[in-house]
Symmetry: C2
């Protein structure tokens, strides 16, 4: 019922080989053949069977994308970017969401790796050894995690963090709180380190709370922990936690930006939606996604030469909105 290469060949009075060439590498057949095949194929409504092609070519035209949580607003822009970039390169993307369960990552990666040309692991939560195992499944690029011997797209938190602390210090804040993310998060470690350094350099006192899950609810909880603290400003591991803090403060009748300055990280679409709007550190998720696709393609195409795995580092910067303001007088 569905028309195959052989059907087209028969209709043209040509061999399947020739039809195949006419369609995929028109330069290698006569102009006459090319035109005829093109016409007949169109008339018959022929569309190549990608599965068959995959089998004989050893390439599926598919890449796998694994993220911790589609519902966390940090990831959708990445997913969109990967998807868009892949589509432009005629690739299709299969998606898996691990629901923030680190233990599921390897499993999902195993399944996907069998039907894709390569994998993009975004913010993987697995411990070191398991990450290495994932890397061995096939061509893999990591986003937001440095993995030895593998191409990775990293976020350089240093600049953004420094700008953030500078901003707060300039506003008169001397005691800054950091609401830590989960321990399994690689970027939490990076962020904590960067902020610690920035505070040391700029003469601010740092107090750390947490760890907290990257969810609004955790921020609500964090807000209450802040009560006895001298911190007049807090930087949250991500925007979700920051939003939770804001919501809770408002609920308690406190003014965010006056009584307490709150800053998020990610600059997710949410930041502009909150009220007051959330000052946040921009993390270029979309660029990271697109870059990851490019890197993966490089690996797939250049399977021969083994150049040192590329490591792209993307920059962060502060976006000031309304949730941060002058330190309150004491």
């Amino acid at each position: 019922m569905t028309v195959t290469l052989a059907d087209v060949a028969k209709a043209c009075g040509l061999s399947p080989s020739t039809v195949s060439r006419a369609l995929s590498d028109p330069g290698r057949v006569s102009a006459q053949t090319r035109d005829k095949v093109a016409r007949v194929a169109r008339e018959m409504g022929y569309t190549p069977n990608r599965v068959a092609r995959s089998l004989s070519m050893g390439r599926t035209g598919t890449i796998g994308l694994i993220v911790p949580d589609v519902a966390n607003p940090f990831f959708p822009p990445i997913i969109k970017a990967v998807q868009a970039r892949a589509a432009r390169k005629d690739l299709v993307v299969v998606l898996a969401d691990t629901d923030e369960r680190a233990a599921d990552e390897l499993d999902r990666a195993r399944v996907l790796s069998k039907q894709v040309d390569g994998l993009i692991m975004v913010s993987p939560r697995s411990p070191e050894p398991r990450i290495a195992e994932i890397g061995r499944l096939g061509p893999t690029v990591f986003v937001n995690r440095r993995v030895p011997e593998h191409p990775s797209v990293l976020i350089d938190n240093a600049d953004g963090m420094r700008q953030a602390v500078e901003h707060l210090v300039a506003l008169g804040h001397r005691h800054i709180g950091y609401l830590a993310g989960p321990r399994r998060s690689w970027s939490n470690q990076q962020r904590h380190a960067a902020i610690t350094e920035a505070c040391a350099q700029l003469g601010a006192e740092l107090v750390t709370f947490g760890p907290f899950e990257p969810q609004v609810q955790a921020g609500v909880q964090a807000a209450d922990l802040l009560q006895g603290s001298p911190a007049t400003a807090v930087i949250a591991y991500d925007d979700l936690i920051a939003l939770g803090v804001m919501a809770r403060m408002s609920e308690r009748g406190l003014s965010v930006g006056r009584d307490l300055s709150v800053m998020g990280i990610d600059d997710s679409p949410l930041s502009g939606m909150a009220y007051p709007t959330l000052t946040s550190i921009h993390v270029p998720g979309a660029e990271a996604g697109a870059t990851a696709v490019d890197l993966l393609l490089d690996v797939l195409d250049g399977l021969h030469g083994e150049p040192p795995p590329p490591l792209v580092e993307l920059e962060t910067y502060l976006v000031v909105r309304s949730s941060t303001g002058p330190a309150p007088r004491r």
Copy 2:
């Protein structure tokens, strides 16, 4: 380099046929054979090539999922649910995001349809005829859109809408605004119709504004249009628009819930994150996603009999939070 069925067969001293059976239908071989094959396969690290299997079986074990916008918080829960349900059934899901461009839907569907067993189209924006064409590409289930001759998962807006209007009327609101979604949105039509009916029955005056894009920014714009209106409460096409309205009102120094009651639709995770928290009509996105997978599987498995295409209708209900309150005295 990668071990195949044939390798395992040779190592076992059996034919590939037998090894294939031992692995996929153990009941059809001797216990001894079964055990041996299982052991050897494991030892050799054999994993079946899914592409080859797909080609010979005519099933890819993959389903396609097309959504308008991954970044719209209404869709992630659906995506997660589809993904989770599919994973449990040993299916992998390939995702496409059309960026709210109705014109891209058919194209993306065409590409995907060639490498999946079936398609799930969520809230498709294409006009009628093009939707029909998509339906002809292969087994397809539609979510949030009624398509003749095709299984669909629909959202029954009537209950939720009625509850919403009842709630507002009970609070003393007599003039209600509806901030319409885009014309291409099927559910916008449904919602508009349902709210119109509810208002008529409950004796409230309805004023419609829009259409607006499902984005926060559009809500900001809508808030200003409300200025001269007698409406003391508004129901927005979706939570994003509602949030925009809220943000803008707060910016203008007005109190949401007092000066103006605002209600969203979708009850997306966002609703609980806003301040004040957003009263919204719950739309069971996750259930819809899971149901869609089940329906699709039914179609795929029962290709023989042609029972009338199932049409599942999911209910909506009101979730009262803090953005709605008594009508202000005039």
